[in-house]
Subunit: 560 residues, 2 copies
């Protein structure tokens, strides 16, 4: 078993290992859902496979489960009705005992064996990418192409990146060495063996908006480093991770390993399984994406585990000046609109001097800047049929409530409007809203308002913009930041502020790349250096806490 | 500044980087205090330098300090009387503000600049190695040669190992890359920069028995990854770390950096500075060696920081059979005697079948094994003048109390005896004691008894020995384990038990290498996989949590 799969995928692994070293462009999973790439049959077959899942019991078993639970609803209004085995609180003993049962054989598989299994899982998920995309679409609200890309191809690339880091980290120490210390007479020769040993059970707590993209790195990092993985999906986004677990169990079983090394812990939300699982002694690694409150709770209470938590933050754009006003507004319009601003990387606060900015189109007042961004959004989303493919659906009642309560919080520069979805009449689709406020209104813009609500903040100038950026990010964290300036000193000052605040910075993006997108193998997602997240996807730190190296040593046979 | 020091020490850094990759033998600092290695003048000059420190104010300033504190006493009875600036609880604001002041310039120095500074500090500490050895000797109780080796040369090697890992971890991501994504027309080209950014202030909490060896890895790992470091030494072992801080501040100042990047926080023990410092928001990394109770407190309360804690455990030797009974007893005798058993790696429980074992000298009963180890200890320590050079002094009243309360806990196989030190009449020197107990006496041997008290545990056989090993280590942890067996199946079973318990294993050591010693660059110290320690010295995990990578990106200039 141990080398069969890794040899099949060795080329992919080697390319990924090279990519994480150079951080240059690399992708193993084509992001275009075009028939020219995937063939004519792939799309209809994926659609049919997804349709067959609806209104039925999902084909996965979970130790400790009793009965089933149905907890999803599509933001597009499509009835789902998929039933999953429900894990009640009193099922955790059985679940975790089963999860641990396969650990010795999993450890024996070694880094190569485990990486091979992971790569085979990725290949089979890739074969189901259209089905997976529909599952992501109808749980998160992402439009289809985005679900295919962010929820499919890019998520698979992020997973492969985690596999590569996990493999590199485990193999940076050799499996064995003969240590030879020079002596007065004979050298002292000791044979040493080094075993990479997983910590135990890893828990992956999924989120609603990016069920695969945010969960895959932790899932594969824990798995490849020798842990069992219990997946606790968000109750409204179970299906994409259920498919993932199903595929993983299938590959493990085929390889003669215990399929319970990967399990799905679907819940009735009232059972609060995540908190119960995260503090179990068997659980030694926790990956979480979600609310700041629960993320902080995990960091403070799951002290028996290593916790990798992406919480939330307040993303800023510092607008100082530009030589491409049209590019600036178009770029921001796209970032604010994509997936209805429901990304942890979407800008929230756009800091603009109240006296306006210099541009290639001459001086623009604060109002001009707001009007320019608003016009760009209206242009981008003017056609409903095109708009819905960019916006997708509103993921939750909470986000809807935030949109509706935004207008009285400042001066509405661009109101949100409801968009009719041509294919899904029951879909909930909204455009983003822009609200102008003053620097003094920190009670409005100074905390996270997740969803398509952005604030144009009038500041005394770029110096104050940077001060506000530092203070809000210092307190609440941020996943992204952007700056527009033609002044090298302003770019440097913003980069220093970003570095000292621990937030990644995008400078003067105008075309083809957006502040809210990060590319696997090159861009890091989060830094671990501010309150928004305590780790980054994906680097050495993200994998190193998931396993230990245990050593044995003995006198080596004398040479000759 | 930034390249001067690293270029001076590039050869050492490169050799260390190679050593951590191969884990083969490497040492940069000669362990022999012989005049043939260090020259005729080194020893007397070091002695004189040490003597000049006694009874005087130590030459280091600490922001926030008020008055001085004298808190050390030599286990050899030598008056020390060194006075250090005392940091009271209300001095922490000033101390931490000063520590943070130099962070921007320290970040700008980059991985090369910081590694260079660290290597220069190591070189200057090495130049003071005899002075440092006397300081370690008279605070920890280590005999001189051991203080020179473990507290000097080996500690410097461990520090260099940490420098190498910290450097490797920061440079595994390039400083910049041009990312070029193929497009339909032009490729999309983005220039990306990656900055390694320290977390903030690192706190190093020193221990009494190994003030340098256990503190250096965290100190240098935090420093090289861009943090300021506050050193809070054990009140009875300040001097070795005071010298370290003095040297570090001297090098930083010479390089034009803020010397307050490294500070000494000596305390009146009643101030409990470690707990106060460890939970300050400015402190983002904590390195600790010491009691299990405080280690667990840190893990549960210093949740704003990454905590690397070496606590305590119960080390086991599984005795099954041997083809070198004399080697076995001699090897164990040395391990139990070295530094009066006051090492976190000293074996405590020697598990022996009650029916005895097979050896090259024929069958040995349980009593024969105990008598053999006892005889080997008596032979090793028969001559007082030689004995004191192996034993050193008893570090604390607590250890002395444990020796004195041992006899009624079982059947004394070898009593401890007081040894007169020929050079230091007031020294407290004791030989180790061996106490035989039964497997059922887990209340006696099942928890840590730090110091020269070891238990010969009579078991039903090796299977039960392995069960006890697993259960005690599972609950209390261990830093080391050893096995003696001529049966490959027993060796394999013990290795599996060790791997699953997360403890390093030494197999059939008989000559020249001992279970309680670990060699820098090759042996890991602790695993992070059991309750004794949550990290190992030194690997990728030990350095990765101390810094983050912050990225910036912008459109690249078009090619051509």
């Amino acid at each position: 078993m141990s080398t069969q799969y890794v040899e099949r995928h060795r080329g992919t692994l080697d390319a990924a290992l090279e990519a994480i070293r150079t951080r240059a462009f690399y992708s193993a999973f084509p992001e275009s859902p075009s028939p020219r790439v995937y063939g004519e049959d792939a799309a209809p077959q994926g659609q049919a496979a997804f349709d067959a899942l609806r209104g039925a019991d999902f084909g996965v078993t979970t130790p400790g489960a009793q009965g089933t639970v149905v907890s999803e609803r599509s933001p597009f209004g499509l009835p789902l009705g998929v039933a999953y085995p429900r894990v009640p609180a009193d099922g955790l003993d059985a679940l975790l005992a089963a999860a641990r049962r396969g650990l010795p054989a999993w450890r024996e598989a070694g880094p190569d064996g485990r990486a091979g299994i992971a790569l085979e899982i990725l290949a089979r998920l890739h074969a189901r990418i259209f089905e997976l995309a529909h599952a992501v679409m109808h749980t998160s609200g992402q439009a289809f192409v985005m679900a295919f890309q962010a929820g499919g191809a890019h998520a698979l690339d992020r997973a492969l990146e985690a596999v590569a880091y996990a493999y590199a980290e485990q193999t940076r120490t050799p499996a064995s060495v003969v240590w030879e210390k020079p002596g007065k007479k004979e050298p002292l020769r000791i044979e040493k063996r080094f075993h990479a040993v997983g910590k135990g059970v890893g828990l992956v707590v999924g989120c609603n908006t990016f069920p695969t993209w945010n969960a895959f790195p932790g899932f594969f990092a824990s798995l490849v480093t020798g842990n069992a993985v219990v997946v606790k999906p968000h109750p409204r986004a179970v299906l994409p991770l259920a498919i993932t677990v199903q595929v993983a169990r299938e590959v493990l079983a085929e390889a003669g390993l215990d399929p319970d090394l990967v399990t799905l812990a679907a819940e009735d939300p009232a059972d609060r399984l995540a908190a119960k699982l995260a503090t179990r002694p068997e659980v030694r690694v926790v990956d979480f994406t979600g609310s700041g409150a629960f993320g902080r709770w995990l960091e403070e209470h799951a002290t028996q585990a290593v916790v990798y938590a992406e919480k939330n933050g307040v993303n800023h754009v510092v607008v100082d000046s530009t030589d491409d006003f049209r590019g600036l507004t178009a770029n921001l319009a796209f970032s604010l609109s994509l997936f209805t601003g429901q990304m942890c990387t979407t800008p929230q606060n756009i800091l603009v001097p109240r006296d306006g900015i210099e541009t290639d189109e001459g001086h623009k007042s604060f109002e001009d800047v707001g009007a320019g961004v608003a016009a760009a959004i209206e242009k981008l989303l003017g056609d409903d049929a095109r708009a819905v493919e960019l916006l997708g659906g509103v993921v939750s009642e909470d986000v809807l409530a935030r949109i509706e309560s935004a207008p009285p919080r400042g001066q509405v520069v661009l109101p949100s409007r409801a968009v009719a979805h041509p294919a899904f009449p029951d879909a909930t689709v909204r455009t983003p809203t822009l609200v102008a406020v003053d620097a003094k209104d920190e009670d409005v813009y100074g905390t996270e308002c997740f969803g398509p609500v952005s604030f144009l903040v009038a500041t005394d100038g770029t110096d104050q913009s940077l001060d506000l950026f530092r203070s809000v990010v210092g307190e609440h964290g941020a996943m992204t930041a952007a700056v527009y300036s033609t002044d090298a000193r302003v770019l440097d000052a913003t980069e220093t502020a970003a570095v000292e605040s621990g937030v990644h910075l995008s400078c003067n993006l105008t075309d083809g790349v957006y502040v809210n997108q990060s590319a696997a193998f090159s861009d890091f997602h989060g830094t671990g250096g501010n309150p928004a997240a305590n780790a980054t996807l994906t680097d050495g730190h993200f994998v190193a806490g998931r396993f230990v190296v245990v050593q044995s040593r003995r006198h080596a046979a004398t040479a000759g």
